[in-house]
């Protein structure tokens, strides 16, 4: 079947511009580093091969686990529309992803650690000590699943709710088994998003650093970032750091190339969720509710531990400290600016990217696979770019271009935050944008809608809920990010997570726990209230 191509020129430009800016930035940072380095010094030794092999293995396992848990949970939540506290649960699942790693690790340790609640409970019931240890590969996988499954859930619940009710009626009418209903109705709705999710999660786990070290339990579990850290910090071998960063870029780029150039499929879109929980049979309903309850407990306990730990802080003193006010103000301001940039940039990229993935737009045009790839790379920049190298490159760029160091520090931090949130934002928005186009392109073109009218009538109503989520995600990722400002450090420039680390670094663990509690509350509130701003008065989180 041939469909007449629909080529909407205007909407290509903003996304291309964003992508070009990001790629230029990356090139500039790497170039700065290359200028300073005396040449690439990289011995492809066995240790490096071992690190890459382990990291790939751990990232692949983490990705599979995150997807399995996330899909099971999304499937359950989508079908159990009336589960009490559903909106709050979805907000909570989102919180895990964006908290500073150390908060998540300490929260998980409170539950699963050697003196954790789970062990205590097991001990109280059986009188024996549990043989399980969170330190090792299992800990790495648990933490990664904890962080990433939530993102899968939030994305896929929306996809599942967008399945046309006719398809569900058909499946029930034919009497398909629960498994076949999943395979034929639910899975195809998820599949296009799963690809993007898998890449994002894999890259996130591939570059995961703190978790692998803290929970790995042994130097056997190592990452490229550690090697880069060592090269920059102890050896000051910028050539080696650059070479290692390029190895990481190459591995990640190969993966993005493998997946990022694929075409979009599926064109079903539907507004409100229509589910038939009462037709699923008691066993399936029970299974779904069990999954939700189990996940709610698993996801909530570490957060509850954070709240309990934090509640012991002396808030009257902590809140009165001038450094706290400064950190909070800086964090919130930077988060707002970053989120505004992320929302604008990711919408532009999503609207442009679909031009190259939808068959009836530019997918057949010359150079379109290249354009699609460029979009994928630029969106995944942070995930493939070691944070230390990003910060270093920025610092060198700042020195070359001059200007106040503090302004550069702010720019570096905002850039880091924006590039950190972009891959998530794009992964959320691209499928929605593609569906909107697939469904309404012909109508919009036949009516001759101006792009602004089209945006108001088609993209905004269909994408606003997702845009709200992206805004919340970007705000929170910025709030929780440790940033790349170490090299820029000045006396007064500090953010909340930075303050938290400083407090722990000075034995002040109670204060640090208090800051963690404040951060967690901010993040949860953002996930509950910000999406509301975007979805009107309709409903809460999703």
């Amino acid at each position: 079947m041939t469909v007449r191509p629909i080529r909407i020129h205007a909407s290509v430009l903003p996304g291309i511009a964003v992508a070009a800016m990001l790629l230029l930035l990356a090139a500039a940072l790497l170039a700065e580093l290359a200028v300073r380095a005396t040449g690439l010094t990289l011995a492809f030794d066995r240790e490096l091969a071992r690190i890459v092999a382990f990291t790939t293995m751990q990232a692949a396992l983490s990705t599979v686990l995150s997807l399995v848990v996330g899909i099971a949970l999304a499937w359950s939540l989508a079908h159990q529309q009336r589960f009490p506290g559903r909106g709050l649960l979805i907000a909570m699942f989102s919180a895990a992803l964006v908290l500073p790693t150390l908060i998540v690790v300490l929260g998980l340790v409170s539950v699963l650690g050697r003196s954790g609640w789970a062990g205590d409970l097991y001990n109280a019931v059986t009188g024996r000590s549990p043989g399980f240890s969170i330190y090792g590969l299992s800990g790495i996988l648990i933490a990664h699943t904890y962080l990433n499954a939530s993102f899968v859930v939030r994305t896929l619940v929306n996809r599942l709710e967008a399945v046309p009710p006719e398809n569900r009626k058909l499946a029930h009418g034919l009497g398909l088994s629960a498994w076949r209903r999943f395979r034929l109705v639910d899975w195809p709705a998820c599949a296009p998003s799963v690809r993007g999710l898998a890449v994002t999660i894999f890259l996130l786990c591939f570059t995961s650093f703190a978790i692998v070290l803290v929970l790995g339990g042994s130097p056997r579990y190592n990452t490229l970032e550690v090697a880069i850290y060592e090269a920059v910090r102890f050896e000051f071998d910028l050539g080696r750091a650059l070479a290692l960063a390029l190895v990481q870029l190459a591995v990640c780029a190969a993966l993005v190339a493998f997946v990022g150039g694929l075409r979009a499929t599926g064109r079903s879109i539907h507004g409100a969720a229509t589910m038939f929980a009462h037709l699923q049979g008691p066993a399936v309903n029970r299974l779904q509710r069990t999954i939700i309850i189990a996940a709610a407990i698993a996801f909530a306990l570490p957060l509850i531990a954070t709240l309990i730990d934090g509640s012991r802080a002396e808030f009257s003193r902590l809140l009165a400290e001038p450094v706290f006010a400064r950190a909070a103000l800086t964090s919130v301001l930077i988060a707002i600016v970053s989120a505004a940039i992320v929302v604008t940039g990711s919408v532009a990229m999503a609207l442009t990217r679909r031009q190259f993935t939808l068959a009836n737009r530019w997918a057949d045009a010359r150079g379109s696979p290249l354009a699609a790839l460029a979009m994928s790379y630029s969106a995944s920049l942070y995930l493939v770019f070691p944070a230390l190298v990003l910060g270093l490159g920025f610092f060198l760029l700042a020195r070359r271009l001059g200007g106040p160091a503090d302004l550069w520090a702010v720019a570096a931090l905002i850039t880091a935050n924006v590039t950190l949130a972009l891959p998530f934002a794009v992964a959320v928005l691209v499928p929605t944008a593609e569906r909107a186009a697939a469904r309404y392109d012909r109508l919009a073109v036949s009516l001759g809608l101006a792009w602004s009218t089209r945006w108001r009538a088609i993209e905004w109503p269909l994408m606003r809920a997702d845009i709200g989520y992206v805004a919340a995600l970007a705000l929170c990722l910025s709030l929780g990010d440790l940033g790349v400002i170490a090299l820029f450090g000045t006396q007064d420039f500090t953010t909340l997570p930075w303050l938290m680390y400083q407090k722990i670094g000075a034995y002040r663990t109670a204060d640090a726990a208090g800051v963690a509690l404040i951060l967690l509350s901010l993040v949860l509130a953002t996930f509950i209230f910000v999406p509301r701003l975007f979805s009107g008065a309709r409903h809460a989180a999703p």
């Binding site: 300073r36 150390l102 690790v105 300490l106 340790v109 409170s110 650690g113 050697r114 003196s115 000590s129 330190y135 650093f209 703190a210 070290l213 803290v214 790995g216 339990g217 042994s218 130097p219 056997r220 550690v226 090697a227 850290y229 060592e230 920059v232 910090r233 102890f234 000051f236 400290e321 001038p322 450094v323 400064r326 800086t330 301001l333 707002i336 600016v337 505004a340 940039i341 610092f395 060198l396 020195r399 503090d406 302004l407 520090a409 702010v410 720019a411 905002i414 170490a486 090299l487 450090g489 000045t490 006396q491 007064d492 420039f493 400083q502 722990i504 670094g505 000075a506 034995y507 663990t509």
Partner: protein
């Protein structure tokens, strides 16, 4: 775009106030690069700034990096144009690296008042405090307190320690050197014996100590002065440092003048001030380390006296530089089995 601009400027403004203030007064300014814990509100910096500004008719500004190595790398990257006049907080293990950069000038301070556990007559690096690595434990939880690495390795199966990675953490590197100094050729064997005791290896001291305070392990690699913090600041008597027969790795923190300074006189004045009571009395209860001179007031109540000088293990910086990679590899191989 204007709105964005304003917000950016507002965010930037919050961070530039110090800089602006220093420029206004027309006073001389001394800029010190240091690690963040030193410059924190609760660190030594505020007190040092107040005391030094009383006598110098100048403005003292601290610029923080995430660590002392970070501060050094910052100066290196900035090269001749660096605004830094002094780098403060390098430890003896990386002082040689710093010396090799050729970026530092002689301090010219009188070192005769020094009271550090080793002989010190370095003309570039002047010490301002020192501390010993030690395994810290909770007295209510640990029954058998180990008195050596071998006893530590022989503790029951369920006693665990948390250490730091030598590739990312200063105490982590210190521990590798400590074992090497104490056992030489046998270091690998000791690490293999310790391996089952190691619960986890963290990126930084903060991660390790955070986990330890959560009760995850019985012992953590920290400093002999750590218990003093809990005793003095929190009135918590539960923590103690395990004293080892082999001795303890000594970490001396030093400062040095950057060659390209535009305030050489002021910088030398600060280096001399650093070795007076006014500076040194601030150190114990803000940096939680031992002062580099014996002050009139002595150590505060609750501070353990330092480890006897004959138990202080220190390694020559050049040796560290020459062997660091091999020793870390020995450590990694032993723990990875």
């Amino acid at each position: 775009m204007t709105w964005l601009h304003k917000t950016l400027l507002a965010a930037a403004f919050a961070t530039t106030t110090t800089m602006a203030a220093t420029a206004e007064g027309g006073k001389r300014e001394l800029i010190i690069y240091t690690y963040d814990a030193f410059a924190a509100d609760w660190g030594p910096a505020p007190g040092v700034k107040a005391e030094f500004e009383k006598v110098c008719d100048c403005e003292l500004t601290f610029v923080t990096a995430d660590s002392s190595i970070g501060a050094l790398r910052k100066v290196q990257l900035e090269g001749e144009a660096t605004p830094a006049d002094i780098v403060l907080g390098l430890d003896t293990n990386i002082a040689e690296v710093a010396r090799a950069t050729g970026l530092f000038a002689e301090h010219g301070a009188d070192l005769s008042a020094l009271s550090v556990p080793i002989e010190w007559n370095d003309e570039v690096f002047a010490p301002f405090d020192y501390s010993y690595l030690a395994f810290v434990y909770n007295t209510e939880k640990l029954e058998t307190v180990p008195g050596s690495f071998e006893e530590l390795a022989a503790l029951p199966e369920d006693v665990k320690i948390i250490i730091q990675d030598p590739r990312s953490s200063t105490p982590g590197l210190g521990l590798v050197l400590w074992v090497k100094q104490a056992y030489g050729e046998r270091a690998g064997e000791i690490w293999r014996a310790l391996a089952p005791r190691v619960l986890t290896v963290t990126k930084s001291w903060s991660d390790a100590y955070g986990l330890f305070l959560k009760g995850e392990a019985e012992l953590v690699l920290s400093y002999t002065t750590s218990p003093a913090y809990h005793r003095i600041a929190e009135s918590d008597q539960r923590f103690a440092a395990a004293m080892f027969a082999e001795g303890h790795h000594l970490q001396v923190e030093v400062a040095a003048i950057v060659k390209s300074t535009d305030q050489p006189e002021l910088a030398r004045q600060f280096m001399a001030f650093m070795l007076t009571d006014a500076f040194q009395d601030i150190i114990p209860t803000t940096n939680w380390t031992y002062p580099a001179i014996e002050t009139a007031n002595g150590l505060p109540e609750g501070f353990d006296p330092p480890v006897a000088a004959d138990k202080a293990l220190i390694m020559d910086g050049a040796d560290v530089e020459a062997n660091r990679k091999a020793w870390i590899e020995e450590w990694r191989a032993a723990l990875s089995q």
